[in-house]
Symmetry: D2
Subunit: 359 residues, 4 copies
């Protein structure tokens, strides 16, 4: 009952990991945007598992097909149907999980909600659900860039466990982010992160971390006051992602330790427009973009599925030991990067459409 996101640029997703396909309908994408599968596939490829030794070895090609909404490579303004077939299904691997609800997974809460459980557990809580989001986000981003040529949305891994990166917003690009398999543009930190992830993998354990996202070239005036503040929609979008436990914008939690006199972003003249000297606000004031870069950060918990045996209990309450045999990522952070960018693009495209009639 909640598979739709957006007011004007809307995406509705469908699909479990073990059905025939996953995908989405993008409704509200303006017409006359050049669009083919080639515009969507790159972000899907960045999202999919099996890209490096750091991620799960499942190699799912995840080739997207546009089912409707375009003709001759141009959007018609009508709903864009998107589908990706599920290929690599090994239900056998989930045998034990069918009996034991996995700790910190959605198996139990789905059962409480629906009175039934997919054999793979909380099917829609699977990372595979994000395929539809990423496909839709790629469309949103392409549309945004045709209207705002300076616009860029770049996310990167800013920490893994205790290892924090130092990254300058200057010169940041997806190419730079992708230069390391851990998607951290601080080469030194990246090395340490990789080592930590490999160690966790070898120990059948998992690691969490943070992803930072910087959106530049965003026009001022986007976002709505009150309940649909731009930061509120970003927060919803990010907390709607699997494994995300926190969101902060601009100064975030660290800003709570500053004084108003330090924290206030004084206005200054900037290339012919009014800008701010600092950007503790993270590009948004009162829910509305002010033209500065939008900067936010999310917390990603360590993956719940681990190879280590776990003492837990069955649905009947009896103690039991769970030992996951399925394939799993020791650290999903690198794969979260394009997903975060996609959700940010969806939020921004919707905000642009909603702002079309200013006055």
């Amino acid at each position: 009952m909640s598979s739709t996101f957006g007011t004007l640029f809307k995406v509705t997703t469908f699909g479990e990991s073990h059905g025939k396909a996953v995908g989405a309908i993008v409704d509200g994408c303006p017409s006359r945007l050049p669009l083919t599968e080639a515009d969507i596939q790159p972000q899907l490829d960045r999202r999919r598992p099996g890209q490096s030794s750091l991620t799960t070895p499942r190699d799912e090609a995840d080739a997207v097909t546009i089912l409707s909404g375009t003709e001759n490579g141009v959007t018609l303004g009508t709903p864009i149907g998107l589908a990706v077939k599920n290929r690599d299904q090994r239900p056998g691997d989930y045998g034990e999980m069918a009996v034991l609800p996995r700790p910190s997974h959605a198996d139990y809460s789905y059962l409480m909600k629906y009175g039934i459980k997919a054999s793979s557990g909380g099917g829609r809580s699977s990372a595979r659900e994000t395929i539809g989001r990423v496909a839709a986000g790629a469309i949103a981003e392409k549309w945004l860039k045709t209207h705002f040529s300076d616009l860029s949305i770049t996310a990167y891994v800013s920490s893994v466990s205790e290892i924090a990166a130092e990254v300058s917003a200057e010169g940041l690009s997806r190419a730079l982010v992708d230069a390391t398999p851990v998607r951290c543009p601080d080469a030194d930190a990246a090395r340490k992160m990789i080592a930590a992830i490999e160690q966790a993998r070898d120990e059948k354990d998992s690691l969490g971390g943070t992803v930072t996202c910087i959106c530049r070239g965003i026009p001022s005036g986007l976002g709505e006051p009150v309940f649909d503040k731009l930061e509120a929609k970003l927060a919803q979008a990010m907390l709607s992602l699997p494994a995300v436990k926190g969101f902060e914008i601009g100064s975030g939690f660290a800003g709570t330790r500053m004084r108003g006199s330090q924290h206030n972003d004084a206005f200054i003249q900037k290339n012919g427009r009014l800008g701010t000297k600092t950007n503790y606000s993270g590009g948004i004031q009162g829910g509305i973009s002010n033209g500065e870069p939008i900067v936010f950060r999310i917390a990603v918990k360590p993956v719940a599925t681990i190879g280590l045996p776990q003492e837990t209990a069955g649905l009947d309450g009896r103690p039991a030991v769970l030992e996951a045999k399925g394939r799993h990522d020791p650290c999903v952070l690198p794969r979260v990067v394009p997903i975060v960018e996609s959700m940010a693009a969806l939020v921004l495209a919707d905000a642009v459409l909603r702002q079309a009639y200013r006055c």
Copy 2:
């Protein structure tokens, strides 16, 4: 264009600080709930300024009137109109702000969005807008408690600037929270917080902090997968509040430094139901409540309006100095407490109604 929140239990707010009234329409509150103004007023009183020397001296009675939706003290199932008159208007105090956009306030971004600016700045970004939310939240909470007798929603100030409280969830209550003017149930920390706020006030500066909220007695199965995950709606609700810069649930950002084997919440038998040994998940897994307490924390920036002179620029880009003469809080944290509780109640009431047809 965004003044409505909720799918079934819906609130729509209206009002600026300098119009005739502020208020809300609550649509979707079930019928036959006993309800009078006396059920709503207490949370409004906790929200309003002038409660202690720590908050702004504006004493606004903020008496709510129910305009519709009840008869003989019982809800009819029809929209509940709520209004609070604006009394204490001193537009003169905002004179300078009409010319200079206030740093880290919404004056500038509202102007960019709407091409016009209320004399008081970003009128809807005013804390006064939250009156409608608090009134609606009080109704939501009353309705929830009639259906789930063990349900409680309690927020408190968990830190002010560098001063962090240590608070046990055991025995926590609103009475305990209200025992200190700073609404922190750790008496020792409260003393330090008060001193820090008084100092900031005397120095014409402001302080930020965090508010923690604990929701107990929440049934499992609430929340929707994908975009309307329970934590996603909570995050949206909280980031939609003025001055909030961050949200974390359960282990939050600290959890990113843990390993999966530590972070996973093992299942155990608990009073005849399946519970979890730890609660790093914060009561929600895969977007759906699991029956454990829902625990989240928000970051509140130091108030933007300060008495200290600030070097900034006017709309024409020319450097200028702003010295706020209006009344202002040196620290809004204590007043944020009931607002957080209200938004949490709105999210939960909506989730309960959406879960009414399970299967």
Copy 3:
């Protein structure tokens, strides 16, 4: 749970006939529109009872107050709160109805839905609920006219019982419509209608009829394909009005007896744009306006509340006789006219905003 209408230009109404006030919140009205109560009052005055001997003698001043959303007579882009106080309450008149559900009224179905009944019966099904719609529609219409100077929305009574009017769209205006108390611009038919209504009034009975609405100067391209076709939103808007039992656009039911070769609206050149020779489509094709006048007609049943004694049954099923003592209209058609115009304006304003980003 349904008191909100519109996607971008949204209205949420509240209020029963016997509460403190009725009204609405208009959210999404663009900023910088000159607006005061004087822009809204005229349509409210056309709607209110007591305008002539044909309508109920209840003289309710129905003076509207703008509570928020404007400053110095101009909209701010924020929600516009609107309230009209209830003054003329005589609950005593409804005594018998509290026991007997009125035939063809909403008393019984409300009771089945809500498990409770307002003393006045189905409070929200009262014609008084339409006050919020009319106030909101007046704002929508004013905004539309500032953007499309040729736009006009004019409704009139096209039949009362068996008496049908012949009205030419040429020269039609509200002044012409208001020239007779029955709001029918065919003077001859109007005379007969008035006589019929007076006779029905004297016989303590009631009459139905039809209202036709013509919207001119509507740009092409408005409306959405599929579920939110322009005619579908108009149909929803009209059937959402009390006592309305039918809707037809363009040729409507009569068109079902034509052949395609007669019914098709051939294209012709018209003042520099492509128009159609005939307008059986009623200005909309495939859900989207084509630039021709939008013409639709609604069926209004005879008022359910009549003075004649009615044999019916009580909630316990026992036979009973109901004799309404309250004040009532023998024919609501004249008062429906401004309500229809208001709903049409709301539909059109929303469609214009949704079309803002064409491609």
Copy 4:
């Protein structure tokens, strides 16, 4: 931007006649409903062309595939992805239409809205778009019947051109409706209708008519007051169908010629519940079902695509003659029957879910 219908039982459709597939996502269908393609296919088969000599000879198998949302033949509560491949594409047939906007078709208005036109004209205005609706409606109907065993939704052709049927609600069933190829249960009228349609076909012309729908076994209390009245959602649903020009419920337009004393539905005791002696209200009072059969009727215009040459104009305004060469129905009425039933089922299923929490 309008491809989603419903508040809790939601359907989002996609697809043009000439893309790769058409289909829908059904979101909000409760879990644990037995469901396979076999539950959906029958209504699709009733909808598809080529069923008799009365309909277009395009034989499209229209086999539906469930892509997600079920496992082992039972719904999971997650979105149900539905797809039907497009097979019989003959774009060549539409050559002339690419240049000339077809009279009373959506080609021109789509072009005005989107600035682009699919080669097949207004792609989403194609009858093929209704496939997704019918598939979704079949699911809604199955779910309704599992909860309300007496519930039935039966539509039939009540008139073709001037030929009107006389049909008793007693004993009405889909089998009876399907007994004639024109789907009219009045055998005598059916014969005349068939003859008239065959004549129109031979003359390369088309006919319109009306469809009546009777919904029985509907519980009282469904529907929302104000904007989402049950009849308002039905009206929107029906007017959102291609070629529909009118909607009436209960007495409809004929009722406008009755007096209140005749039209009022007196209450009587009926099998242990309160019913009404007559049913001029059509089963709904004040927007809320009263337990009587819901009866409504729609007007379907004669199909716009005809074989006869038509004098019209091109986009440049120059006179031209259009002669459709594509395959087309001389009368779509029989195929509209299952589509009307499907939309009614979607409206009712949504209303049941919204009523889940009564008080």
